[in-house]
Symmetry: C2
Subunit: 245 residues, 2 copies
């Protein structure tokens, strides 16, 4: 089995408009998706694979041609993708390697809006990372969609200045949602199965500083924790989302 | 800032009996822990760092000497570590890279017993991995304890044969617990905030095969899911634990 990275299980093959050949139901794939189908799915002619159109429906693709050069399928897209989580995630920009994993994992969980925010404890150099380019961000988000069998690409918004974002934008952003900021020092536990839209802010490793917490609280955020244990940013985000929804 | 890997934040410095010098409250550290304190904590003389004795209490260490060669602290251990999760985790052996991350993350979340089990979809080669050696397993578990400020090392049990384990051992193992197996095809949702001891079985990427699910069900396991989305093993384990407890 070819090693394709820990999160790269392609439970759905995500299709884009230019994958479609002459007619609306026939796709031709090469590159990464072809290699994955050969190495991991080990598909044969007439096998049916799970496929989905980016931004659209999911369904099946029947393999009509498969060799080292090309994968052709007849696709039928007849189901809706799974529902999104009603959450906006505000995340203090993690270091690039963690960012990539968090993006895959929150994309798989169904988060559709991610704001990457500066914070006092974010290293300035993280903002220079080539992984913040749109194409690189989308690569990770697509891996998450393929893992979870979703088609709706999340939006990522970069906010390299904390104060103006919180002072000028956040009131509009949180309108109609319950705004929470995760913080180990909080006395309230993160609520469970909340059944309402949420804005969830998660600080950097080491946490938001008191000034940042105070500014968020002044804008209406409630501070919540996940117990006595300090989790990594990636585990904390997954655990918080799983508990809230 | 020296890069030490995504999960290596040492929120607690874990101490072992042979770190203690002449008297019971003075420790001398070198190697990894010294480097981390220099590079990440950037501590100075008289700073207080969070410390804990492996298998014992946590507290503070006041820095009395710190240079490129040695870190010395006067420690006071006066608090209990955070409570364990009342769960036994049965995990189909993931590939080595994923295993390392899952071990760190479940150790941080407070799991104290982990059974690594074979399954039809586990690659045979994974059982040959050098990361299954006791010292290598403990390395990852300790990183999780340091992240979460815990001192109680989890136990890892290897079971390279599925059928005899389930037929001969599992009834005793699950006694007094609610046994769940996570499976995407389940109709029941994973319960929330369950307030009872649990045995949680999680399959490999691609899931347990029907025969394995049936055998677990015949031994009393209930099948539960986490919604329509297929998550990576690592995200699924974190999400399940966060929902159950």
């Amino acid at each position: 089995m070819q090693m394709l990275g820990p999160f790269s299980r392609m439970n759905l093959i995500l299709l884009f408009p230019n994958d479609f050949a002459d007619n609306a139901s026939r796709v031709r794939l090469q590159g990464r998706r072809l290699r994955h189908v050969l190495a991991v799915h080990r598909a044969s002619i007439n096998d049916e694979l799970c496929v989905g159109l980016a931004g659209g429906r999911i369904g099946t693709g029947r393999v009509t041609n498969l060799n080292e050069m090309v994968l052709e399928m007849d696709v039928c897209l007849n189901r809706l993708p799974p529902p999104a989580l009603p959450v906006t995630l505000i995340l203090a920009l993690p270091r690039p390697k963690v960012l990539r994993r968090v993006l895959r994992s929150v994309s798989a969980m169904g988060v559709k809006r991610i704001i990457l925010l500066n914070s006092f404890r974010v290293e300035k150099s993280f903002w220079q990372s080539p992984f913040l380019g749109e194409a690189k961000l989308n690569e990770q988000l697509i891996l998450g969609l393929e893992q979870a069998r979703d088609t709706m690409l999340p939006e990522v918004i970069l906010r390299p200045l904390f104060k103006p974002f919180v002072e000028d934008e956040i009131s509009t952003l949180i309108h109609g949602t319950l705004p929470f900021v995760a913080h180990p020092a909080a006395s309230a536990s993160c609520p469970r199965n909340i059944g309402q839209p949420v804005t969830l802010a998660v600080g950097p490793e080491g946490g938001f500083i008191p000034y940042e917490i105070e500014l968020l609280v002044s804008r209406g955020f409630s501070i919540v924790n996940l117990g006595d244990r300090i989790l990594s940013v990636e585990a904390a985000v997954t655990a918080l989302l799983s508990r809230l929804f």
